[in-house]
Every structure is written in structure tokens, then in C-alpha cells.
Symmetry: C2
Subunit: 358 residues, 2 copies
DNA sequence: AAGGGGCATGTTATCGTTAACCGTGAATCC
DNA sequence: GGATTCACGGTTAACGATAACATGCCCCTT
């Protein structure tokens, strides 16, 4: 066991002195690089163990110009999406000896800005960005990319820089799939809850909905397209959008037989409101969500939803990033768009009129 | 705008050459330390701007032995608790010029271990740990503390090291408060859902429950103390504990009039199960949760729960840490235990027999 | 006029590590 | 047997910044 009284942390020099060699030789032993005889290697190892040596990564990085570190910029930490993303990245980074340092933007442009700056100045080898687009954020990213920092962005930023790769899911196609699922069940009167002009991927889902409807020559009723009631609320309160959305729908004289919710939390809000109003799901109203959050399988009824391959996005982002980090040449820009997949549970059946034929 | 073709990042030396001074003078300008005439200061500033200079923090830190960086070790990122904690810490760290680098243990001892090592070797100035206790984790913490790394732990680790401070909430007292609230409403038959021997704070809440019951000379029925049904499940699935718990209770011939759930997610599971079984809340069954997650206000009925001052814990932890980081002497160990507060919403009223008297 | 103190810079050494190079001897080759 | 290779490990000079000290100058005191 290490003595509990060491003061200054041990350095290569200390070990060298004890082992009777030069610091360079110790370095070779520590890094398992270059030629060192068995004998001296063991002597050095022993000395290093005795002093509980841990390399000073600042010094090493200063010299090697590598920190073996990846910055990860996340928006909101209290978010299953984010967690899975981080998990996927780690699966790639860990075995290759990289550490992920996570910074949070907390959905604030200022915080995002300062986090980027901090990561950049601390010389991370690469950056994975999964926050929503902001103007200053984009500028910083371009600046850093110009200065040859490898960057991968996950999501919907429009960054046309030859060195900024991108990984995202095909939200448009996912939106189509969800809509077509409802149509294939016989629904023709379908509404959309949670349109928002701010959110890129949300917008794409909505576009997928519209295109699928048009494809099947189904009319889209404008009053069945519901946005947030008031000012947008952060985090979990998207539930409210769903809750209020359904309430507004019920006040109309004609209402849809199925709803496509922009995301699962919105769908959960709808379910809650439906229950409060005595509406049966899926009997009276079919619902599809988006994201497949862990909660989605636990609601009653369990939610039919569209699953993004989140972990996989994290893994791919990390892989692409490391490829760029470790390559000596400049690689061509990569853009990876991954397919979503429909997860059919119990919140969708055909409309009441067809259902009876079952 | 910066030229988009810079290759090597600018250094003090580059600026010095352009401004016609020595690097040391540039350093003084950048750090606003020491005497520099107005004239040269402006010359240097101009040169620095022209080159888009950003200091190399690795080099600076190597020399100053300060990274202006704090490591934050979190268990699970998809967790409102964690998010608020991080938010609180940032409120203190940011204005004082520190950056928080977050690492995740993902509830794995191995990951925790490697994260600690990475943070230590990258020479963070201090460490805030909010993961659950593990044996190797505790050993690492003691090792690092011995080597004079300031550490603050949030939660229930038993670390008796003179340099490891601690911030936590009084879960025992919170458990008392919740229980006494139910008792004061007239309940005498109260159950507890979600006991677990693994979770320190959960155990304290349970202990608070027991002590409050004893205090009021109320019997505790052993069969109303429910743990997880099967193997413990991570993350949001604690809902299941609640769901299954209530199901098991309903199979008994006599059931309690009120339940205290170890945490809000468990309480939500109970509410869901109650609704599925046609039980009215709070009429047939009163429920108290713990944590006051954002969702708790949005359930129907909104959940009565115990609120921990989470952000405040984050702030205090950061403050104590920085105090230690920036102090030249060794400070005495601090242990801060913060009070919880009961948030009364609509999931609790008196038992049915009393309720009619309203 | 000598001394002291604040201002404004430069010089030097160093933080801990590694890249690049060099020297020595022993083994291997044709 | 001379040239070539290889194993081993030392030397030197950075990486980019700053601490500590030194230097020179001007102004003010007494």
C-alpha cells in the first residue's frame, strides 16, 4: 500500500534516480516503447510502483500534442437520449484509451460558448457536439474546425465545413414510417401534436408526416396540427404540450382517430389527458410517439413509437471522430444518416369503425 | 474574421515577435498581471487579436500547477437529480473561472475507477463525487485525498478522511417528515414501497419512516414493507418497483390506507398501478414520494413529496471544494447536512373514514 | 547629490515529459 | 574480417507558458 504521506507527486526523475537510470529510460518503460532490457525494465517498474507513480498527463500532452481526450458537448443532462448517446460513445472511446470530458450547454448559448472554449483551450483531441444549433455556437465550431480540431456533430446543425462530420437519424423517414403505420391500420383522419419551428429534428418528423399523408392522398386538417399552447417550456414539461393538445382537440366538433406526437413525452401527456377525459386508447384514439424513451414501454397502454438508434449514433460519432483524430491526412467529410425503426406496442389499432371487424 | 487557413496555433512567442516584445511581456498582458505600459499593452493586444491567440492551457497548467478545472463524477446522467446538481455547481464554478469536466460512472465500478483515474491524471484541481459507494472507488478517493487532491462527496459514502468534505441531505429527517405528514392526516396504517439495502439514502428514508412510526406508537406491518420484486433494474424502471409493489399489496386481505414510496419514480409506478386497478388516489390510498422530480408536479394527482435542496447541494459542494482548492493551509473537514422540505400536493388526504367528515 | 521606490521590461530557469539523435558493444552477414 | 545490423540507453532540446529575479529609468525625497 502506498504511504499516506507523500507530498509532491512522483515524477520520472524521481524514479530515474532510484532506479539508477535516466528519465528517458523510465519514459520508455512506462510507455512500453523503444528498447529496454528486461533487467532495467524490472528495476524501473519496481521503483515506479514503490512511488505510486502516475504520469503527469499535462506534461505528456504538452510534448506529444495529444491529450487522449475527447470533449463531448451535451445539451441537457436529464435526458435519456443524452445518456444513451454518452454510453455509446464510451463503448468506442474507452477501449481505445480516450477519456470523454462532458460539458453541458444547459440549453444556453452562453454556456455552450464557454464550454466549447474551455474544451478547445484544454486541447481535447476532438469534439462531439450534440446540442441544438445556435448562431454563436456554429461560429465557434467553424473556427475550431478551421484550426484543425476534429469535430463530429450529432443532429441537425447546418454546418458545411469539410472537416465537420455528422451523424444523425432520419427523422423524416421515421415520421413517414409512423404515419404510414397509422394509415396501414386504416386511419385516414390523423393529427400531429407538437409542431415547433425551433427544433430541427422535430420539424423533419413533421415533414415526414405531411409527405406520407400526401403520398396516400389523405387530407391534412390544419386545425389538427397542434403546436405548444404558450411559450415553450424546457425539459419534461413537453408533456404539457400533449396534455393541452388533446384538450384542445376534444373541444372541436370533429376530431381525428389517430395522433402522431412529436416525441414520447408529448405522447405521454396525451395519454394522461385521454385518461382524465375518459377516452380509451387505442380504442377511441390511436397514438404514435417518437424516440422510444425507456418510459414508453411502461405506460398503459405501452406506446407505439419510433426508435432512433441512439447508442449506435454515439458509437458511430466516436468512431468517425477517432478516425479523423488519428489520421495523418485530411479525411473527406462524412455524413451518416441512420434509419429509425418502428416499435409497435399497444397504443395503436385501427379506427373504431374498422376495429369492430376484428 | 480569422483567416481560415492558420495551421499551427499561435503562441506567446509568435505574438511577442510581431509586437516586438518578449513572451513574458505578452504573458503579462494576457493575464493582466504585473506592469505593462498602456502603449505596449495595446500593441500586444492587437497582435494577439490578429493571430486569434488562445493560451495553451496545458502549458500554463504545467507551469502554474493549476488547471482551473474541477472533475465531477456522476453516476447516471439521465437523472433529474444529477442535472440539478450539475446546474448548482456551475453557478459557483463558472463565475470563479473554473470549468467542470463531467465523467460518468454509469453505475459501474470499473467505469468509476477509470474516470477517477483520468480526472486525477489530467490534474483537475478538485473533485466532486456524487456516485454511490463502491469499495475500489472509496480506495481511490482515499488515495487521491492522501495525495492532496481536494475532494467533496455528495451523498452517503462513509469516508473518514480529514480532507474529504461531504454534503448531503437529511434523508432520515425527510423520511420522518413524510411519515408524520401522513400520520397528521389521520393515517395509522402505512406501508413503505421500495426498501433496498444497497442504497444508502434510501435506507435512511426508510429508517426515518420506522422511527416516525415508533415515535407515534404505530405498528409497522412487515408485509407492508415492499422491496423490489426481482433483481434490481437500473434507471427509470424503478417505476416497476412501485407498480409491482401495489399489485402485491392488493392481493393481501388487509391493505394500508397510505404508502410512502422511496422515491418519486416508485410513487409514479404506484399511481399507474392504482389507476389500472381502479383505485382512487388519494381517496382510497394516499401516497407520498421523495425527491420532487419535475414530473411529480405533473402527474394526476400531483404528487405530495419530499424535496431535497439539490441545486443548493451542488452549490455548497462547489463552494467548499473551491475553498479547499484555493486555500494555502489545510482546512478542517466539513460535513454539511441539509434539510429537506415537504411539498404537499394532492396525492395525500386523510384515510377514507376521516375524509367523509370533510 | 545620494538614496529609495515605483514602473516597465528583459533574462533565465523550470514545470514533467518525450522526440530526435547519438554512441557503444555484440551479433550477424557475405 | 570489414561492414552492417540490432539492442540498449544516454544526451539534448524542445512543448508553451510563467515565477523569480535582474535591469534600467524616472521621479521624488531629504
Amino acid at each position: 500500500m502506498a504511504a499516506r504521506t507523500e507530498n509532491r507527486r512522483a515524477t520520472l526523475r524521481d524514479i530515474a534516480r532510484i532506479a539508477g537510470v535516466t528519465p528517458m529510460t523510465v519514459s520508455r518503460v512506462i510507455n512500453e516503447a523503444g528498447y529496454v532490457s528486461r533487467e532495467t525494465r524490472e528495476k524501473v517498474r519496481a521503483a515506479a510502483d514503490a512511488l505510486d507513480y502516475r504520469p503527469n498527463l499535462l506534461a505528456r500532452s504538452l510534448r506529444t500534442r495529444r491529450t487522449k481526450t475527447v470533449g463531448v458537448l451535451l445539451a441537457d443532462i436529464a435526458n435519456p437520449f443524452t445518456a444513451q448517446l454518452a454510453h455509446g460513445m464510451r463503448q468506442v472511446l474507452d477501449p481505445r484509451g480516450y477519456t470523454a470530458f462532458i460539458c453541458l450547454s444547459e440549453n444556453s448559448a452562453a454556456h455552450e460558448q464557454s464550454s466549447m472554449k474551455a474544451l478547445y483551450q484544454h486541447r481535447v483531441d476532438g469534439l462531439i457536439v450534440a446540442t441544438r444549433a445556435t448562431l454563436p455556437g456554429n461560429e465557434s465550431l467553424l473556427f475550431m474546425a478551421d484550426h484543425h480540431l476534429p469535430i463530429v456533430q450529432i443532429g441537425n446543425r447546418e454546418l458545411n465545413h469539410p472537416h465537420i462530420d455528422r451523424v444523425t437519424a432520419d427523422h423524416w423517414k421515421g415520421g413517414c414510417q409512423a404515419t404510414e403505420h397509422l394509415i396501414s391500420l386504416g386511419h385516414t383522419e390523423i393529427g400531429f401534436v407538437g409542431v415547433s419551428l425551433l427544433n430541427g429534428s422535430g420539424l423533419q418528423r413533421f415533414q415526414g408526416f405531411l409527405d406520407a399523408m400526401r403520398q396516400h392522398s389523405l387530407p391534412v386538417r390544419e386545425e389538427w396540427i397542434l403546436g405548444p399552447g404558450q411559450d415553450p417550456v424546457p425539459g419534461y414539461s413537453t408533456q404539457l404540450v400533449g396534455y393541452e393538445g388533446l384538450s384542445r382537440l376534444l373541444a372541436m366538433k370533429k376530431r381525428p382517430t389517430a395522433l402522431f406526437a412529436r416525441n414520447d413525452m408529448t405522447a405521454l401527456g396525451i395519454i394522461q389527458a385521454a385518461r382524465d377525459r375518459g377516452l380509451r386508447i387505442p380504442g377511441d384514439l390511436a397514438i404514435v410517439g417518437f424516440d422510444d424513451v425507456p418510459l414508453a414501454a411502461l405506460t398503459s397502454p405501452p406506446l407505439t413509437t419510433v426508435q432512433q438508434p441512439i447508442e449506435e449514433q454515439g458509437r458511430r460519432a466516436a468512431e468517425i471522430l477517432l478516425a479523423r483524430v488519428e489520421s495523418s491526412e485530411e479525411l473527406p467529410r462524412q455524413e451518416i444518416v441512420m434509419d429509425c425503426s418502428l416499435v409497435i406496442r399497444e397504443s395503436t389499432v385501427g379506427p373504431a369503425i374498422n376495429q369492430e371487424s376484428h
